[in-house]
């Protein structure tokens, strides 16, 4: 069975920038996949290439087995893309926009029930007759999502779908995207909200300067490097003059009576650290812990080995 998206040896060169440098990436059918990376990493370039919006210099890209260049018609029928830029056609109302979009894919009146379903799921039913200009930014973003889904694509690519959407609406979008995934759609998500990727995605690729810095399951990513670490923050009654020797390598920050230590989740015991400090004369008045999250992993991977 063909992968949802198969990318092999992909290069994209602009006159002054090598935007994508030999990307090999396979996204399987039914995955909820996160594509992360700092600004300018090449995420949108990669997505635009898969969507056929950007030409590439070298390599091969297929959507469910169909080459995006030589078999672009079938490839584009199988993929729905929500572009990053907020854009709309000011001449039409919401329902017209969705009818037109599904018409481009050869779908007529028989698709009307799906359009109604999309309007309902994306909380746009009462705005169906409203001109696009009259909608708020969040609503326009939801119409863009509906446009990408108008032809019921098997693979859905969302490039920063929640940018500019308020917290409540973002959560509702998550519910909707999760539903799409449950119904069998392959979801590829790029986002700046790392907690979004952490909450939704099963497998994650981190792109940095046009190269894949990491590609793994979320669990595996979190189990390596900084992902294995836990921060321990302590407040003592008096500033400590010195630390027990065994704890010195773990110290990250010391300001007045505040201490921050970085501990390995597997090997370091919080109780043992507290006992060692007490034995050293410290009077601990407050304590908190915080596990490293995807953001820490992201920062570690994207700041390592700068070129």
């Amino acid at each position: 069975m063909s992968a949802a998206i198969a990318i092999a040896g992909l290069h994209k060169r602009y006159p002054r920038v090598h935007a994508l440098n030999g990307i090999d990436l396979t996204i399987e059918r039914g995955e909820f996949f996160g594509l992360l990376g700092p600004n300018g990493a090449g995420k949108s370039t990669l997505i635009n290439i898969v969507a056929g919006l950007t030409r590439f210099s070298e390599g091969r890209v297929r959507v469910l087995g169909h080459d995006v260049v030589t078999d672009y018609r079938r490839a584009r029928r199988l993929i729905g893309v929500v572009p990053q830029e907020l854009t709309y056609d000011p001449f039409f109302n919401v329902r017209e926009v969705l009818r037109i979009q599904s018409g481009y894919f050869g779908l007529g009146r028989e698709n009307e029930a799906w359009i109604d379903e999309l309007l309902d799921a994306l909380m746009l039913t009462d705005k169906a007759g409203a001109n696009m200009r009259a909608l708020s930014g969040g609503m326009k973003r939801r119409v863009m999502i509906a446009q990408a889904l108008a032809h019921k694509p098997e693979v859905v690519v969302l490039d920063e779908p929640t940018a500019g959407v308020d917290v409540e609406q973002r959560k509702q979008l998550w519910v909707f995207i999760r539903r799409l995934h449950r119904e069998g759609h392959t979801i590829v998500l790029t986002t700046h909200y790392l907690e979004e990727a952490q909450a939704l995605c099963e497998r994650i690729a981190i792109l940095n300067r046009g190269e894949l810095a990491a590609l793994d399951t979320k669990r595996a990513l979190m189990a390596r490097g900084i992902g294995r670490m836990r921060r321990l923050c302590l407040t003592t009654a008096e500033p400590l003059r010195a630390l027990p020797e065994a704890l010195t390598p773990k110290l990250r920050r010391q300001e007045g009576n505040q201490l921050e230590l970085q501990l390995d989740k597997e090997t370091d015991s919080i109780i043992a650290v507290v006992d060692a400090l007490r034995a050293h004369g410290a009077v601990i008045t407050d304590l908190s812990t915080e596990s490293a999250d995807l953001e820490d992993v992201f920062v570690e991977l994207t700041h390592r080995n700068p070129r």
């Binding site: 919006l53 572009p83 056609d89 990408a148």
Partner: protein
């Protein structure tokens, strides 16, 4: 083939200009009628271009074709550049529409607008002057082909231009002078020899001359030759536009 996709894009383009009828249909009809009123008032009785044809009647087909040309160009060029600059063109580029379907939808919609404006001018002008119809097939053929040529040229300009200013330059420095200097208001036989020769390099001249033949049965150039020139222009511009679309020139980076 994706006939429904083609029809949808065509329908969208027609709906787009249909939503601003005042600007896209009514205004050009009124402008052309103003030309007719002013020139007919000033020149009627003083100029006879074709034997037995009053100047006001002579003027009508020229004004109709000039408006067909300008509006067909305006439709495809402005629609494309607006979509490009606002970014919503992406929703067409993401679809399985082929280059040919994209091209045909824009060009046919442009032709529809051009022909509707032309028909409007003709229908209103018959209240003021009698314009005979000698060869309706020529009228229809020149209207359809010429509006398609300008629809294709509008697509090229819309793809090429990166800002409205460049498109306005294309319109004001190429389309407007070529259409004004193509024999709308005169027969080229009334020009000095040099300008007569120069006019023959203007493709719009053949459009207007052949179109006028359909009404009066008289023309400066053999109408079939004019038809050939217009067909050749359409073939060249179609090839250029399809090449631009295929390579993604200024549309897919």
């Amino acid at each position: 083939m994706n006939p429904m996709g083609f029809y949808t894009l065509f329908y969208k383009e027609v709906l787009r200009f249909g939503k601003v009828l005042l600007q896209t249909l009514i205004a050009p009809i009124i402008t052309a009628l103003l030309y007719l009123l002013v020139f007919a008032h000033v020149l009627a009785g003083r100029v006879e271009v074709f034997p037995g044809v009053v100047y006001t009647a002579f003027l009508v087909p020229g004004l109709v074709m000039m408006s067909v040309i300008q509006n067909a160009f305006a439709n495809s060029s402005s629609s494309l550049i607006q979509s490009k600059l606002t970014g919503n063109l992406v929703f067409i580029l993401l679809t399985p529409l082929s280059h040919l379907e994209f091209f045909l939808a824009f060009v046919v919609a442009a032709a529809v607008r051009g022909i509707l404006v032309g028909a409007g001018i003709y229908l209103v002008s018959v209240f003021f002057v009698t314009v005979p119809v000698h060869h309706p097939i020529f009228i229809l053929a020149f209207a359809a082909l010429s509006s398609s040529v300008l629809g294709a040229l509008g697509l090229i300009a819309g793809i090429w231009a990166e800002k409205f200013d460049q498109l306005a330059g294309f319109q004001n420095f190429i389309i407007l002078p070529l259409s004004f200097l193509s024999g709308v208001f005169y027969s080229i036989h009334s020009l000095p020899v040099f300008w007569q020769h120069l006019s023959r390099f203007n493709p719009f001249f053949y459009m207007i001359d052949g179109f006028r033949f359909g009404f009066f049965g008289v023309s400066d150039i053999a109408p079939l030759f004019s038809l050939l020139i217009v067909l050749a222009a359409l073939a060249v511009l179609t090839a250029v536009t399809l090449l631009m679309l295929k390579t993604g020139y200024k549309l897919r980076d």
